[in-house]
Each structure stands twice: as structure tokens, then as C-alpha cells.
């Protein structure tokens, strides 16, 4: 499925974080993902069986918070999206008011397309929770 095909445009869709994650997981070469609250509480996860969700959620919340903290401390503003890559794949993380959306991508994934889709999803969640 192409990034453009991920439909997360309606505000009510953005309130359902599990639905947002499910849509993002349909992107090509995404291995799994999770949604985690800022306190590390796991909201939803769909990961390969060999990956433990809880420690990944704890690290994702820590990473998300650290990225948010770069804003006020380093005068860079909050982050909507970040990507961390190794030779074997990448972790994508998006920040929303209710938590962080995390995706795990294969090395052959189109990283620009994934970042764009995640950016759109984050925007949808922001709009849904603003009201």
C-alpha cells in the first residue's frame, strides 16, 4: 500500500489511535508499530513476536519526551516526527497530545514516504484532539 493511500484525514478518525496505527501499518515494508502514552503506558501494539512491547514502549515514551524537551530547552520547538535508522531498519516516532506513534520500518522502506504518512497521521490526531 502506498503512503498516499493511508486515509487518516477525518478528525473523528484521529481520536481512534488504534485505527490510526492500523492504517499506518499497511504502508509498504513496515514491520510493526505501537502507540504509547507519555507515561509509558502501552495503548496499542502490533509487533513481530520476537519483540517485547513493554520495554519498547518504555523507551519510546522516553525518546518521545526527550525529543519534546529539545524544544523549550534548545529553542527548537516541539517535534512532530523523527526517524532513527540503522543498517537493518528504522524507527519512526511521531508526537501527539495523547501519546507517541512508533513505526518500525525495513531498510528497503521508502523513508520519505513513511515520514510523510506519519506526519499526516500526527496532524490528524492533533486536529481530532484539539476540539
Amino acid at each position: 500500500m502506498s503512503a498516499a493511500a493511508v486515509v487518516v484525514a477525518q478528525p473523528e478518525v484521529g481520536r481512534d489511535l488504534r485505527g490510526v496505527l492500523t492504517a499506518l501499518l499497511r504502508l509498504d515494508h513496515i514491520m510493526g508499530g505501537l502507540v504509547v502514552a507519555p507515561d509509558g503506558l502501552l495503548i496499542a501494539a502490533d509487533l513481530p513476536h520476537e519483540i517485547q512491547a513493554e520495554p519498547l514502549a518504555a523507551l519510546a515514551a522516553t525518546l518521545g519526551r526527550e525529543l519534546e524537551m529539545r524544544g523549550p530547552r534548545l529553542r527548537r520547538g516541539t517535534f512532530p516526527m523523527a526517524q532513527f535508522a540503522s543498517v537493518s531498519g528504522a524507527v519512526f516516532i511521531g508526537s501527539t497530545p495523547v501519546g507517541y506513534i512508533v513505526l518500525l520500518g525495513e531498510p528497503r522502506a521508502d523513508w520519505d514516504a513513511i515520514r510523510a504518512a506519519l506526519r499526516r497521521a500526527v496532524g490528524t490526531v492533533y486536529r481530532a484532539w484539539a476540539g
Binding site: R15, L17, A37, P38, D39, G40, L41, I43, P48, E50, I51, Q52, E54, P55, L56, A57, A58, L59, A60, A61, T62, L63, R65, E66, L67, E68, M69, R70, G71, R73, L74, R76, G77, T78, F79, P80, M81, A82, Q83, F84, A85, S86, V87, S88, G89, A90, V91, P97, V98, G99, L104, D112, R115, R119, W129
Partner: protein
């Protein structure tokens, strides 16, 4: 007319009945209130959930679950100081409560109090050895420099280094450091450089731990989109380069700059 005269009597009867029913209606228990607050938190309605938790804690100030839920809500609302207070209240009631120890450790990590973070996580693991979240965070904390005093100092700055490393004109901020957070180069270099170095090193450390947990290997590249600029990171096992550009700069151009500067930086280190 008779019906009109009877109306007040009927009204009084209904009022008496309502009073009786109302009088018998019990106030929800603390557990019921906290259950409701938990549901609201799970729905993302943090403010309403917080109001209910506050009321529940007025009735039952010794509720460990209530203080834990309050801490969780403060974290969700990014109110770190209040979250810390709530976690401390939990630990005053139950000194080895694992979620409170983990939560407080996360607050300590966020505030760069690495020593406290490690101590809290060790306390949690001593009581609950099978606590994967605490183990994952301890792996991160072990690799971080414990205090500002222990941070290494800059070894190269200035125009010469800028030229040598072929820093692009579009670069807003450049940091080059060893994996242990020893700063080798910073442009511009100012009062907040130490903060930027610490933050970048910590970010790389947490990201590396996360990639490892996901079975993906060590950090090599990163892109962090901010409101005003985008930061590009390049790393190997020994060093880390961070370049910040205006967010309007094309990603492909920024990545070209990054690779070029990274090559120069690696040559300097060799």
C-alpha cells in the same frame, strides 16, 4: 379546579419520593471513581480524569492507585514536577511500588539526574528482577555521563575547524562528538552548547537502545523534524555528528551536506 388544587400535593409527594431516593443513593466509592478516571484517561480525556482523581484522593488520600493514576495523568499532560510529587506519595505509602520507581526514574532521566535514575531502577529490579521496562531504561542510564561536572570539554572550535570540516553555509548548528559525549567541535559555540551536547548524546543513547530492542542494530542516521528546523544525525560506534538546517532545506541537500561533513569529521578523527 379540583385538579389544580391537587397539583401541589402531587408535587410534594414527588419531591419527597425524590428526596428518599436521593438520600439512599450512595456516593461512588474511591475504587469506582478511580475506575472511571482510568477509563477517561484511556480515552485521552485527561483533564476530566484528573478532576475525578483529585476528588477521589480527597476522600481517600492514602490510595496508592489514586496517586499512581494522578502521576500517570500528570505525565500525560507533560506536568513533570507534579508527576514527581505523585510518584513520591506512592513511594511514601509503598516504598517498592514498581510503577512509581519506574516513573520516578523516568523523571530523573528527563531531568538529567542520571545517578538518581540508576538508583531508582536498581531498587525496582532488586525487588522485581523480571521488570523489562526497568531493565531497558537502566541500559540507557548506564551509558550516560552521570553529571555535568563529569562532561568532557571542547577540543576544537572556531573558523579553522569550520573550514576544515567544510561546514555548509546553511548549517544553523553543528556538533561533532565522540560516542561518550566528548565534544570535538561545535559551531556556533555558546552558553547552551553543553546542554545541546548532553541532549544530543542522550537522544542518541535512547535511540540506540530502542533500535537494539527492535532488533535493528546500532544507530547510523537520524532525522528530527522541529517546528523551525530539521536536525540530521550521523553516527557510528565511536562518534556522532549533528547538523541542524532550516526546515525548508530539501532533505536530499541536507543529507548530502551531512555525508560530506561526516567524511571530513571521520578524517579528522583518524
Amino acid at each position: 379546579m379540583a385538579k389544580i388544587l391537587k397539583a401541589p400535593k402531587a408535587g410534594m409527594f414527588l419531591a419527597r419520593l425524590w428526596h428518599m431516593v436521593g438520600g439512599k443513593k450512595r456516593r461512588p466509592t474511591t475504587a469506582q471513581m478511580l475506575w472511571r478516571a482510568q477509563r477517561l484517561r484511556d480515552e485521552g480525556r485527561f483533564e476530566r480524569a484528573t478532576e475525578i482523581v483529585d476528588t477521589a484522593l480527597l476522600h481517600d488520600p492514602l490510595s496508592v492507585v489514586g496517586h499512581l493514576l494522578a502521576a500517570s495523568l500528570h505525565m500525560a499532560l507533560r506536568e513533570t514536577g507534579q508527576a514527581r510529587t505523585s510518584f513520591e506519595r506512592v513511594l511514601a505509602l509503598e516504598p517498592t511500588q514498581p510503577r512509581a520507581l519506574l516513573g520516578l526514574a523516568r523523571v530523573a532521566l528527563e531531568e538529567d539526574d542520571i545517578t538518581a535514575c540508576r538508583s531508582l531502577l536498581r531498587r525496582a529490579l532488586a525487588r522485581y528482577p523480571d521488570f523489562p521496562e526497568a531493565r531497558a531504561l537502566l541500559e540507557v542510564a548506564r551509558g550516560l555521563v552521570p553529571s555535568v561536572d563529569a562532561k568532557p570539554v571542547v577540543t576544537a572550535t572556531g573558523t579553522k575547524a569550520t573550514d576544515r570540516l567544510r561546514l555548509p553555509a546553511e548549517s544553523r548548528e553543528a556538533l561533532f562528538m565522540r560516542a561518550d559525549a566528548t565534544l570535538l567541535f561545535a559551531e556556533p559555540h555558546g552558553p547552551r552548547t553543553d546542554l545541546a551536547v548532553g541532549s544530543t548524546a542522550k537522544l542518541a543513547r535512547v535511540a540506540t537502545a530502542m533500535l537494539a530492542r527492535a532488533g535493528l542494530g546500532p544507530l547510523r542516521h537520524a532525522v528530527v523534524e522541529g517546528v523551525a528546523d530539521t536536525t540530521y544525525l550521523r553516527a557510528d560506534d565511536t562518534a556522532l555528528l549533528s547538523l541542524a538546517f532550516d526546515r525548508d532545506l530539501r532533505s536530499s541537500t541536507a543529507l548530502e551536506h551531512l555525508e560530506q561533513v561526516w567524511g571530513c569529521c571521520r578524517s579528522e578523527l583518524a
